[in-house]
């Protein structure tokens, strides 16, 4: 088996996923074209060396359907032999795409495969591609389906995190994101999005609210209370978890991930491939794992995936210098920290999706790049990147600098 390396990683800044967001004019295909072109151009990469492109997309329908990866490869002027595919493992799709790319390299089937992802949440809304587990009565009722927000509040209720705990975490995320931008920590990976004239449309993460404090968060109403109390999902959660007397509604727009637009691409290849392309690897993809977890509470998969990865590799938490867990909801991170016994100083050190947003299909690839940049900046060796996933799944990838 050959090693898989990360040679480079790029991402767009994240635009607000609303009708007035800075990137709303940019189609998912165009957003993908820009990261693919950017990755090629800054590495003067001969795209004939690339076998394939794997993109994560969570709502693969309409203009995010029809195989965005292949479409973008054509439009970006990649060698015509570079194919493309898109994958969906919900929120982890971008990281899953990178893992698949790495696996292709490891197996010896390819020298280079690009992993990445895109999501224009302003243009293709969450849920647009359908969700049988939520809607089909033969699936939803027997399997205790609840929406993610309810699952997040269930994590908080079951494991005893207070609204204050969650808000304090969120304030820190904003603070860290601001500091990282101020210090230019993301500069290495950011590709500003431009129009056909080369004019910059967005060069920073638009969603951030650096002024956020406990007081401003305190005024926000819970987001999922109606869903729980009015639609009946609180009872579904309670029927699955009878130890819950009453579901607490602690998550809101300020301590949950933001809805944004964005794309990312990661160039993954073998040592031989690097030689052919004249590129130096930045990190080795050491191991990865995906796993299913209990689907109603849904968001506790990161610890399960981490455990599986550790079991397979013989690694332990003490081998990890830097942790990156997607901030889908504050309670998810707090729970993971408790389970893995990680201090806040070692996880999401540059903030996360609560501050900067979570462009579903792209996020996994984005935070892989963020973790790599941070390893280099802080001169650390090993990072573990993980995300919680809808329908009860988890994913984890370990990279180490070379």
């Amino acid at each position: 088996m050959q090693e898989a390396y990360i040679f480079d990683a790029v991402r767009t800044p994240r635009g607000k996923g609303k009708k007035d967001g800075a990137l709303v004019e940019v189609a998912p295909t165009e957003m993908s074209v820009q990261v693919l072109a950017g990755l090629r151009d800054r590495n003067t990469l001969d795209t004939a060396l690339v076998d394939d492109i794997v993109f994560g997309i969570v709502e693969p329908i309409g203009e995010q359907g029809g195989n965005v990866a292949r479409t973008a490869a054509i439009q970006a002027g990649y060698d015509e032999r570079v194919g493309g595919m898109q994958v969906n493992r919900f929120c982890s799709s971008g990281l899953e795409a990178c893992n698949i790319a790495a696996a292709r390299v490891m197996s010896g089937a390819s020298d280079f495969v690009i992993g990445g992802g895109v999501e224009c949440m302003s243009r293709v809304t969450i849920g647009d591609s359908g969700m049988p587990l939520a809607a089909d009565p033969l699936l939803s009722i027997p399997n205790y389906f609840v929406p993610q927000g309810i699952a997040a509040d269930l994590v908080a209720t079951k494991y005893g995190y207070s609204r204050t705990d969650l808000d304090a975490y969120a304030v820190e995320s904003q603070k860290r994101a601001k500091q990282s931008w101020d210090e230019g920590r993301f500069d290495k990976s950011i590709l500003p999005v431009t129009d056909d004239n080369g004019l910059i449309m967005l060069d920073h993460d638009e969603y951030m609210r650096p002024q956020t404090d406990m007081q401003s968060l305190g005024s926000l109403a819970p987001s999922f209370q109606m869903m729980g109390e009015f639609a009946g999902f609180d009872d579904v959660a309670r029927q699955r978890y009878p130890e819950i007397e009453k579901l607490e509604y602690y998550h809101h727009a300020g301590n949950s991930s933001g809805i944004v637009d964005g794309a990312a691409a990661v160039l993954i290849g073998s040592a031989d491939g690097g030689k052919k392309a004249g590129l130096k690897p930045r990190a080795r993809i050491k191991a990865f794992a995906s796993i299913g977890s209990e689907p109603t509470i849904m968001l506790t998969g990161p610890a399960e995936a981490t455990k599986r990865l550790f079991e397979r590799t013989g690694m332990t938490a003490s081998d990890i210098d830097l942790w990156e867990l997607n901030e889908a909801f504050a309670a998810v991170v707090l729970r993971y920290m408790d389970q893995l016994n990680i201090g806040h100083d070692d996880i999401n050190v540059n903030g996360g999706a609560i501050a900067m947003g979570h462009p579903l299909g792209a996020t996994g690839a984005m935070i892989l790049g963020t973790a790599l940049d941070e390893l280099e900046r802080s001169d650390k060796e090993t990072a573990l990147v993980t995300l919680c996933i809808g329908s009860g799944m988890g994913i984890a990838t370990v990279i180490e600098r070379v």
Partner: protein, 722 residues
């Protein structure tokens, strides 16, 4: 052969098929009637001289649904046969719908279930103002299997249709017209139907057979669609705890069927119908909810040879909430009531309670002001026993005290004749003992109401050792008079219902003391299909009452004897703690296992309950806890049967569902044992007894039946053949 329906052709060339099923109380879709209808319809459809066909009824109702006896007979069919029988009917209705010759439904009266489905298969529907439409199949654990789950949502949209399909609620004519479920409302539905045919108002195709048909509301797989179904699924789980497959499969029919052609949709619906039909829930609901309850309501077990009672006057002694409720029901049954208490004020308060109750019914639009006045006027408040003279029956609902009850009994007997029956509404004191105070113990009987009396459907009649058949017959006639459901049981401490119901809360106390979280106890109690968690329930009933009864029982039976019989000591500790130490008697005091808000609604479980019974830390085994809650009730019922307190399985089943709200989908306590299977149930008892104590020990009756391979319902096929 008796005539089930007739048909004729008028001078305009319109054939009318008229349902009028001789020998049946109502028009129903029986095998024979469907066959006859098919013959009539085909004959006219194939007759070139006929321009169109009108389907109507000569009865007050149109057609009220499938013949349940026919369905019951199909229980022995295998899935393939049920499915093909279902498809035969669906395809016939489809033939009616797609035939070039128009068929019009003239809905003169209620069209329910299959009757409504037949109307929906007609391409034009005229409805009488006072008629109702409805698809109540869900109540029997089934679904409308002749196109009802497909045609209704195609007419009114998925979310609207689900409201009717999953609840079985009726649709009135004005609503049906607004929805477009019917095309016209008419006084003379038959002539309006004929006019529609003659004037060419009947479309040549059903809307869904038009090439450009789209659904009226949510489009399949749209965001609205996902939202509708996700929300409906959660709401259904909230309401049913996932225990009822029938509304689930109805939702599935709408979800999947609307994405298919009508022919494939009917096939999908048939498969779902078959799955329900083959399952235990429909069988249980039909057995107890339909046959069992109807038999009880018809007084099938009434002692023979006793002439029917004509009630002109009924006495009620004790004008508290219970007594006043009994007075309300009796007056509503059309009988004069003497409401007697020791003071004028108390008696008048009771009468006022009746007046207020019917006042509220008027406000809710359930009865007219005149009717309310008429009923209320039947109640006379008094302190004078002489007023009871000439009553056929007197029921006492005074304080649970032997001395007071004895005085009341004597005073009543003094003014009434030998034919008079004395009923006691005690919920705990054995009848035979109370009858000691009577000169005519043969005319003394227990008539046990449930609270709130006006709402609760069951009355438990308890025969003391000396109670005569005649007294039992009068008590049963009385329950029929007030439109409730009677079961007759023999005397025992707690009779049947209170005795078995008590095991539910007692088991909850055991769980608490074992360190099972109060939240788990409550949630799992509800998951078994009980209307409330056990702690909320005993709060409502009154923990102090339970405590008092327990200690009286200990005094009379003896604690050692009770322990010998399997009484768990740890349950006593819990009730003693909450009542004696914590001094929280229940909801009426605003504090019990729960805390209550200023409207006396439960808010949260009192935190001290968690502190008092700290978690044992073991993982929650929901299935084991559910089994404990359900099995303990069934085991106590089996003991009641063994002791002769309850003499028939259907009495036990009906009593459990309508008395204390045992889960209807299980068909009652004994049907639950049948559903589990007797040998498995016995094995469960042995395991539970080994793990949790001898209160779970299997009664000998069960062991004997298992050994002989017997069932509690050996004659079900005989019922079906009726």
């Amino acid at each position: 052969m008796t005539s089930l329906l007739t048909s004729s052709i008028d001078q305009d060339g319109i054939a009318t098929i008229t349902w009028d099923m001789a020998g049946h109380p109502m028009n129903v879709l029986s095998e024979a009637a469907l066959e006859a209808f098919g013959e009539h319809w085909s004959k006219h459809a194939e007759n070139d001289a006929v321009k169109g066909i009108v389907v109507t009824s000569a009865r007050k109702e149109f057609i009220v649904g499938a013949d349940i006896n026919m369905l019951w007979k199909m229980r022995s069919y295998d899935a393939a046969t049920v499915f093909s029988e279902n498809q035969r009917l669906s395809q016939f209705f489809r033939e009616v719908e797609t035939h070039p010759k128009p068929t019009v439904a003239a809905i003169n009266g209620d069209a329910l279930g299959g009757g409504f489905e037949l109307a929906l298969a007609c391409r034009y529907r005229v409805m009488a103002e006072g008629a109702k439409l409805g698809l109540p199949e869900v109540m029997l654990g089934l679904l409308p299997g002749a196109g009802g789950t497909q045609r209704l949502p195609r007419l009114i949209g998925a979310s609207e249709a689900l409201q009717y399909l999953t609840t079985g609620k009726n649709m009135r004519a004005d609503k049906a017209l607004t929805f477009g479920v019917v095309h016209e409302i008419a006084e003379d539905v038959i002539s309006a139907a004929k006019t529609a045919i003659l004037e060419g108002k009947v479309p040549s195709k059903a809307p869904w057979d038009e090439a450009n048909f789209t659904l009226p509301k949510e489009q399949p797989q749209s965001p609205e669609w996902t939202q509708t179904f996700a929300g409906a699924g959660a709401m259904l789980r909230r309401q049913t705890q996932g225990n009822y497959p029938s509304p689930q499969r109805i939702m599935a029919c709408v979800y999947h069927g609307l994405q298919l052609s009508m022919d494939k949709a009917l096939s999908f619906e048939g498969r779902q119908f078959t799955a329900l039909f083959m399952g235990s829930e429909a069988r249980n609901l039909i057995r107890t909810g339909w046959f069992g309850r109807n038999a009880a309501n018809r007084l099938e077990k009434r002692p023979q040879g006793v002439p029917p009672t004509t009630f002109t006057k009924v006495g009620v002694i004790g004008a508290g909430v219970m007594g006043a409720g009994i007075a309300s029901c009796t007056a509503q049954g059309g009988c004069d009531v003497v409401l007697l208490d020791i003071s004028e004020e108390a008696a008048e308060r009771g009468r006022k309670h009746v007046e207020d109750y019917f006042g509220r019914q008027v406000k809710k639009g359930r009865i007219t002001t005149e009717k309310a006045a008429q009923i209320t006027n039947r109640v006379t408040a008094t302190t004078d026993y002489k007023a009871l003279e000439g009553a056929q029956l007197t029921i006492e609902a005074v304080f649970e005290d032997r001395g007071i009850k004895a005085k009341v009994t004597a005073a009543t007997e003094a003014v009434t004749d030998d034919a008079h029956i004395f009923g006691t509404n005690t919920s705990t004191l054995p009848i035979t003992g109370l009858a000691d105070a009577a000169d005519r113990p043969e005319s003394f009987i227990g008539i046990h109401f449930f609270s709130p009396v006006e709402k609760m459907p069951l009355v438990e009649i308890i025969r003391g050792e000396q109670t005569s058949d005649a007294a039992a017959a009068v008590a049963m006639d009385y329950v029929k008079l007030i439109s409730k459901t009677p079961i007759v049981v023999n005397d025992s401490r707690g009779f049947y219902t209170s005795r078995v119901f008590g095991t539910y809360t007692r088991e909850a106390f055991c769980m608490l003391s074992e360190g099972i979280s109060p939240a788990v106890v409550e949630n799992v109690g509800k998951a078994t299909g009980m209307p409330m968690g056990p702690l909320e329930l005993i709060d409502m009933v009154g923990i102090d009452t339970g405590h008092k009864i327990t200690h009286e029982t200990i005094k009379e039976v003896g604690w050692e004897t009770m322990l010998e019989r399997g009484e768990p000591a740890k349950a006593l500790e819990v009730i003693d703690w909450i009542v004696e130490e914590a001094k929280r008697p229940g909801q009426k005091a605003g504090k019990g296992f729960y805390d209550y808000d200023d409207k006396n609604k439960p808010t949260r479980i009192w935190p001290e309950v968690y502190a008092k019974f700290p978690s044992n830390g073991a993982p929650v085994d929901v299935d084991d806890l559910k089994k404990r809650f359900l099995h303990i009730q069934a085991i106590e019922t089996l003991r009641c049967m063994e002791e002769g307190v309850v003499t028939a399985a259907d009495d036990a089943d009906v009593g459990s569902i309508f008395g204390w709200g045992f889960a209807p989908f299980l068909g009652g306590v004994i049907s639950y044992v049948e559903t589990v299977g007797l040998p498995q149930f016995l094995a469960d008892c042995d395991a539970l007894a080994a793990n949790h104590g001898k209160r779970f020990a299997a009664p000998q009756l069960l062991r004997d039946m298992v050994a002989k391979g017997q069932s509690f319902y050996p004659n079900e096929t005989a019922v079906a053949a009726e």
